[in-house]
């Protein structure tokens, strides 16, 4: 069972604190999964430089997960277990990634969405979250450099590398863009009003979309980064 699903009773859903419990628990779940996915590619990245970078990013993500879970305790949530191998991350990063293009797409999109959200919590009224956010943001700069450099390289190499990367970006976006939730979510709105987080979900998506679209445009590429519209199957407890 995920942190988020164990923490959110039905009656609590909708409140600012319940929304933050869902976001923080899912952030940790996804960072743990991202760490494992990066780690799996640390032995098979296309270059030795990126293999080492993948190992370093894996270490960072697992550290972020480990330091984020205790924030839940400050919000009165007891975890089911202490492992990093549990939880409900996005389906796209739940299992080993099939190719290097997927690793870079996860680096761009999943890491991008999560880090952009963390940036909106840098001055959170939940002080333990604000502290973690500032530390996470220091380390995420290197992840962004890695993602941007590989996007350029794969787009410039053309052919199958470029085609597959654009496909993986669109696949990853379709899932990860839903992570922040609907733009008009009441609990999220209340969390913004109470200073727990600074920006609403659609603003988080817009920032990532603008950054990514700019990178792609510079390489003469485009990808479908549409705003999610169908929220009928979206589950707040696991944010997917």
């Amino acid at each position: 069972m995920s942190i988020a699903s164990s923490a959110l009773g039905g009656s609590a859903v909708g409140g600012a604190t319940a929304t933050m419990i869902s976001l923080i628990g899912s952030l940790a779940d996804n960072k743990g999964a991202l760490g494992r996915r990066y780690g799996e590619w640390a032995v098979s990245a296309p270059t030795i430089e990126s293999a080492v970078a993948a190992a370093a990013m894996a270490q960072d993500e697992l550290g972020h997960a480990r330091s984020t879970y205790p924030v839940l305790a400050k919000l009165g949530v007891e975890r089911d277990d202490e492992g990093l191998d549990s939880g409900c991350p996005l389906v796209a990063i739940e299992h080993e990634l099939p190719d290097w293009a997927s690793v870079i797409a996860a680096n761009l999109i999943v890491d991008g969405i999560l880090t952009t959200w963390v940036a909106t919590a840098r001055d959170s009224s939940i002080e333990p979250l604000a502290q973690r956010a500032r530390k996470i943001l220091q380390e995420e700069g290197a992840h962004r450099i890695h993602a941007e450099a590989w996007l350029k390289r794969m787009c410039r190499s053309g052919g199958e590398d470029r085609r597959l990367l654009l496909q993986r970006i669109e696949e990853m976006w379709a899932q990860a863009a839903r992570w922040p939730g609907p733009g008009d979510h009441r609990g999220y709105g209340a969390a913004v009003s109470e200073g727990m987080v600074r920006s609403r979900p659609d603003e988080v998506r817009r920032r990532v979309r603008d950054w990514l679209a700019g990178l792609l445009e510079a390489e003469g590429a485009v990808a479908d980064l549409s705003e999610p519209t169908d929220w009928s199957g979206w589950d707040e407890r696991i944010r997917r």
């Binding site: 270059t47 030795i48 990126s50 970078a53 190992a55 450099i145 450099a149 350029k152 390289r153």
Partner: protein
Amino acid sequence: MSRADETVWEVFARKAYEEPLHHVGTVTESDERLAIVCARAIYDEQPWIHMILVPRTEIREAIRA
């Protein structure tokens, strides 16, 4: 993906400012910012206080026996 057009960076580091920079290895990477990230990740076995990267093409030979 061909690596033929990538930059080879020579990496130098030191553990104290009173020490000279030592050559610790190379990084092959066309993106300058990623080269720095990779050098820090690869050559982290010592508590360096200073590390620099120099493109191999910028090195000039003074003696060649």
